[in-house]
Symmetry: D2
Subunit: 236 residues, 4 copies
Amino acid sequence: MLPAGKHVREVYTDAGGVLESVGGKTLLIDCSTIDVDSARAVANAASEKGLQMLDAPVSGGVAGAENAALTFMVGGDAEAFDCGKAILECMGKAVIHAGPAGNGQVAKACNNMLLGISMAGLAEAFTLAERQGLDPQTLFDISSKASGMSWAMLNHLPVPDIVETSAANRNWKPGFAAGMMLKDLRLAQDAAAKGEVSTPMGALACALYQMFVNGGNGDLDYSAIIKMVQGEKPEA
Amino acid sequence: MLPAGKHVREVYTDAGGVLESVGGKTLLIDCSTIDVDSARAVANAASEKGLQMLDAPVSGGVAGAENAALTFMVGGDAEAFDCGKAILECMGKAVIHAGPAGNGQVAKACNNMLLGISMAGLAEAFTLAERQGLDPQTLFDISSKASGMSWAMLNHLPVPDIVETSAANRNWKPGFAAGMMLKDLRLAQDAAAKGEVSTPMGALACALYQMFVNGGNGDLDYSAIIKMVQGEKPEA
Amino acid sequence: MLPAGKHVREVYTDAGGVLESVGGKTLLIDCSTIDVDSARAVANAASEKGLQMLDAPVSGGVAGAENAALTFMVGGDAEAFDCGKAILECMGKAVIHAGPAGNGQVAKACNNMLLGISMAGLAEAFTLAERQGLDPQTLFDISSKASGMSWAMLNHLPVPDIVETSAANRNWKPGFAAGMMLKDLRLAQDAAAKGEVSTPMGALACALYQMFVNGGNGDLDYSAIIKMVQGEKPEA
Amino acid sequence: MLPAGKHVREVYTDAGGVLESVGGKTLLIDCSTIDVDSARAVANAASEKGLQMLDAPVSGGVAGAENAALTFMVGGDAEAFDCGKAILECMGKAVIHAGPAGNGQVAKACNNMLLGISMAGLAEAFTLAERQGLDPQTLFDISSKASGMSWAMLNHLPVPDIVETSAANRNWKPGFAAGMMLKDLRLAQDAAAKGEVSTPMGALACALYQMFVNGGNGDLDYSAIIKMVQGEKPEA
């Protein structure tokens, strides 16, 4: 797992890199979360050398890794996927084939853009509720069974004492760090720019997380963005 | 159920209105979806006359009403709620007490703001997926069991042939009309303005739905906003 | 000059208020910055009593008032405007007739929405320049003579030592307070909601200023929003 | 002038490219509008070969080019700038040194982001005015001399019959095409992502222009975005 596309390109395609070093039947699996174009470029380079490659970014965070409960979103040939699936299942509870090379990255970018949008929305809605005299527990009781429900609400509600797994219960210790959410939102924006897709909500969520991270909060849980929406600095 | 706060105010508080006409033990239940301040003003006026009143906006749409499967979000005194609950249960599968007068409106505004934000996000994410070569069915299979999941995704996915209840399967016939979603987003913005709450995502979703409705699409299902995101006019 | 529409309505139309108290030939001039509907409602009430009334909100800030250099944007009948113009010119350098009753408010809301959007944009563009190694003075020298130019740039640039009148040179002492900008952006949003107009940029500027004000910065100059964009708390 | 960074990289740095072909005292001037990183990478490659290079993107459009009235924003060493200035002045009325390599691109991205934000704001403000009964000519008369003024308002007002140079007077024939504005807003977003800068307004303007271009309007003037804000398709 490398930080960005340029590192993956270097490690695989540079002189002396992985593609030059491995034998012909090796299956390459890269679990980095990177931009779609880099994932596709490296997979193409591997293919030109007759090597099979999977891009297999994960979700689930540190807890998911420790408990072998990660979700793998996998791009690559069906044959390569069938070959690699058993290995990934040792670390994950869900290993899903998303289509050809790069599609693991596309799936993660789309999914996490939805997550970032949901969390920014939750921060606003629960702040609005409280300012208008509606108890957060009551709003949760209603919306968690109604049309406003989301995974983020059920698992990462940005207010304390309602959802056990919320970082709001542990001084915003991640979980899923704001800096990582920003990275994923940036990757989604990169894919949108390359694909000429309009994403006003995704772009705004990205700008809000950038503002939050620039405020020195990148190591806090991404749900702590509720404090910025409220005009406050989170107390870590 | 009246369209807006001013109508509710007139019907209850004007000369010759409901508050002047009803007997002293009457329980008033108003199911309009209106601004919080109007709901509270009318409830206060009722209280001054010794009358009990509930604001009880619904969600669930036409189908929910026809099947007695509405959700009622109810504001008012606990005593009044206990009294009115049995009546509302004839029409609804969930009747929830949200707190004092006006809180039914707050709950609905917050919940539906979350729904509008989710749908706008889904429109973008599923467009991005498609433009990057990721099959919508595959993204649904992944995200519906992952952190991007939402009620809107499971029930109103804005692409056809995946979720049976999607309006995308029936030429965007509502369901929940875009014009009604706009109304609810406007009410949430009104509550945010009065409560001095910052809601960038909610405000943007509202502006996007206003643009969509102004394009002549107010009678289509709210999920049809995906066509605007894609630069197309929905074919109704 | 009263704070909000409800105060103006009370002072003019309540029992014992201005409309009951003044003689038949009195010209009423109200310089409050309020919502369009309230301005029109009070003007209509005045008209029903045979009184002429102007809504005449100002721009120019404290400095403009002290130097009799305010701009008055005036709504009301042409006849009433001609009558009141000479009085307003004692306090202002520009007294402009914007059309019938309420149009003074519309003009101010539109103008100040443009100003708020410009300032939020300047905050971003000058931050971007600096982070990419472009000196703010150089960007100013280029853009102030090019297509990015705006009144806000020429007069209220949110970086120090370039434009003499910038609040950035005086620890963000207003000038035009962020709380006042927020009020005007809220009024523009109110007019947009009533007029069923989509204003994504205006709505976002409003939400950003609400976030900034909620951070305790309402008494600072509105140009200090650049600090929030950069993730910092302004030092007043 | 090449379309994008990858083309400039190829033309200069590929085998058989410009850097291999030119003699040692040649001054290279590239007038493409491209991403900052590509401009800097090519300039660095030139420098390693002992060549001097300027990035010199222009503004002013087709009319500016035809009339030798372009503005050149130039990045590169002061010595190289002094050498190239006379050449550029043959085509431009303003040739401005923005600092070291790549700064021409930064300056253009920042300036045009301000322009795009201004135009999107104008589209909203003039629509709001009209819907609230304020004549666009009147708003122009007021704001063009007040704090809402911008270069975009004075030169490219998105309503007809007020500003002679507006594309609104000629069925939205560019001028400055929406597709070109989108390109510049994308470049600004790319620079913001690389520089870790939060640009909510710039990001939203970019998403709105992407939506407008995806609607088939990329060849219309960028001021035609007012039609999308109003929910209409521009008639070209």
